[in-house]
Amino acid sequence: MKKKLLAAFLAATMVMGMTACGGDTTAQGDAGTADGSSQVENSVAGDEEQEQIKLRMAWWGSQTRHDRTVQVIEMYEKENPHVDIEYEFFSFDDYFTKLKTLVSSDQVWDIFQLGGNFPQYVDKIYFLNDYIDSGVIDTTNISDAYLKITQDTAGNQMGLSNGLNTYGIAYDVDMFKEAGVPLPTDNWTWDDYADACRKISKHTGEFGTSGFTSSEFIAGCSTYIGQQGKVGEYGFFNLDLTGMGFDDYKMLTPYIQMRADLIKEGASPDAGAEMEITNIENDFLVTGEAAMTWVAVNQFPTIYDVCAAEGRTLALASLPRVTENGPAGSVIQSSQMLCVSQDSQYKEEAAKFISWFQNSEECNNVLQGERGIPINDKVREALKASATAGQQEMYDYVDLVGTFETPEKINVLSPDGQDQVVDQYRNLIQQVVAGEITADEAAKKTYEAAEAIFK
């Protein structure tokens, strides 16, 4: 009896398998006709016969960016019915994890977003020089200086910058006033900064500064090196990313000491509290638990609006300096760019999209410079004319940083392996806080870790 049942079951599964196969073929047939008919419809809709193409695109960012980018993608699809854009968006870390897997399987998105860490992915970037020369990408309203910020030293155009950016410190004006601390000036020093943190923390019981760590390494630690000596004498890494830009690790010590002291005194969040910050929108400055935070200025309008809705006023201050009259260390750089991938089947179509994304006023009216201040002169003027208070503060700040004396040659790129150095650097600060090592040892170890990535 059992055997018969088994046989019947086996037979049944086989039959089911066969019908399933049959089902598949009909389904495929259907899909085929569906495709065909949609093509016919399109050729009727558009005047010229155009091949239906699918572009894949991805980016990282905040919810605001996701919403706005999806909106402009839909606008583009409406204007170009033959293009279907399949998009994915991620948080910063997840984006790069995904990108790395796609790099190793040669399936990088047709259009993808990269920042200052592009050297790592240069093999996958299709240079845009030809498209710019042939006019596929319109650069009439983009000055050469702005094209240059996304070129490598050999002049290869990696992509077009989505926006100009620089780092600054966003602060809560009322918390400063409440604690009786003078507002930051354009050339305040790190001592003033630490002082303000302590006073505010003592007076309000909140943190003096938040610890938005993904910006802190570049805005704080790395800038601190550039601020020493003459303008352009030092940098954290050297100009062509082949080694360190300074020789004496002791140059780092005071900064690490300051960070550790502030954490120890409760004026800056410890590792546990920092873990609660997942993106700029729930940074302690935004939640009202800190008076300052590190920002890339394109993030500023968003948090300004959030706080304004709660009746709080934020403002932007320049990064503190080592000495009052020393170098500012801040530089205007590209926030991120859109690149065309080497793996793309439709490189020209991808380039066309990028050109539209950069130059269309309609498109940028939706984007509202959320990725940074647009490099297209006309678009920028149009946006400035209708700027909100938060955006105006950002424009003014970038203009201010533009007046600072900057070195002729700067390097704003990150070498392969920087992530590991940054993680070690943060960990070393935590060890200083715990009293396991001194700030001097932490500086030495940070230097060695950074040096090791070039070996």
Binding site: A271, G272, E276
Partner: protein
């Protein structure tokens, strides 16, 4: 039986289908396919990568011999993560098993509600490794989370769970202990198998509850304890989600679980070869510990058939 020509062929086919080996292989085929594609091949490639400088971003793979393994010895974070993981395993596994056994023991009473309770206690294990639970845990133990609110209301000092190196690991351990369900079910099944005659005999001899537990329950349950111990030890070594979601390894790497560090090396720092070497090292550590458990089991696992 209608067609005489096909009887020979038909019986052959039937014999083939009825053969136990065929049946077994057919039913195992999906698993075998999955095992080869998603376990065996990746395992073998990772063995090869362990001796190379492979990284996700680049195409070139250069063999580097034992360099990756040598580098492990000088890597402070590696040493720390190994220590953290061992601490996690040695604390969480015994606690989890003890708790599972305790609850299983309570639920052996004859009551209609036992099944309901058993299902309820199993729920945490169902949602077990999920990100959602880890996020809830993160909120519970946050600076202004539920635990600290309760402490504050009771007039006690709040505890900075994830900011203190000494404490950060304990919420993670607690979360693993909380997911005791699957061990509990196995224990409950084991408890049912113990003949009641043993207990009756002991009662007649005047044994109390504690003596019955030590002298009868534990020895009779020891093969199941062994099974649970091995399984839970192995899965504790692979703990990843809690650390990844809740603490990201901090503060000062106090919760840098081994699996999390492997992930960081492979995907964040782009050292896939090094990560593979780490994985193989972990395999050796786990094998040794499992072997020790098995060898020692001769001394404490009681088998009725043997005696």
């Amino acid at each position: 039986m209608k067609d005489t020509a096909t009887i020979g062929f038909g019986t052959k086919v039937r014999k083939f289908i009825y053969n136990d080996n065929t049946v077994g292989h057919v039913f195992a085929a999906p698993f075998i396919f999955g095992f080869i594609c998603f376990s065996l091949i990746p395992i073998l490639t990772s063995f090869y990568y362990a001796f190379t400088d492979f990284s996700m971003g680049s195409k070139e793979v250069t063999p580097v011999g034992l360099k990756n393994f040598a580098a492990l010895l000088t890597d402070e974070t590696f040493m720390k993560s190994l220590g953290v993981t061992l601490k996690y395993v040695f604390i969480s596994v015994p606690m989890k098993l003890a708790f599972a056994l305790f609850v299983a023991f309570l639920l052996t009473r004859k009551s209609k509600l036992v099944t309901l309770y058993r299902s309820l206690y199993y729920v945490p294990s169902l949602v077990g490794g999920s990100v959602a639970v880890a996020l809830v845990w993160k909120q519970l133990f946050a600076r202004r989370g539920l635990f600290n609110m309760v402490m504050k209301d009771m007039g006690l000092d709040t505890i900075n769970w994830f900011g203190d190196q000494g404490l950060a690991l304990f919420p993670l351990i607690l979360m693993s202990v909380w997911q005791f369900g699957s061990s509990m079910i196995i224990f409950a099944a084991g408890l049912k198998e113990i003949p009641t005659t043993y207990y009756e005999a002991a009662e007649i001899d005047g044994a109390n509850g504690f003596q019955k537990f030590i002298k009868i329950t534990l020895p009779c349950l020891s093969p199941i304890i062994l099974y649970n111990l091995v399984m839970q030890t192995i899965s504790a070594f692979m703990a990843f989600t809690q650390a990844f979601i809740i603490t990201k390894g901090g503060p000062n790497n106090a919760t840098m679980m081994y699996a999390l560090y492997v992930y960081k090396q492979a995907f964040d720092y782009n050292n896939m070869g090094y990560a593979c070497a780490m994985s193989w090292f972990m395999l050796m550590v786990m094998s040794i510990i499992t072997l020790v458990i098995f060898k020692s089991s001769k001394m404490w696992v009681f088998s009725e058939a043997g005696d």
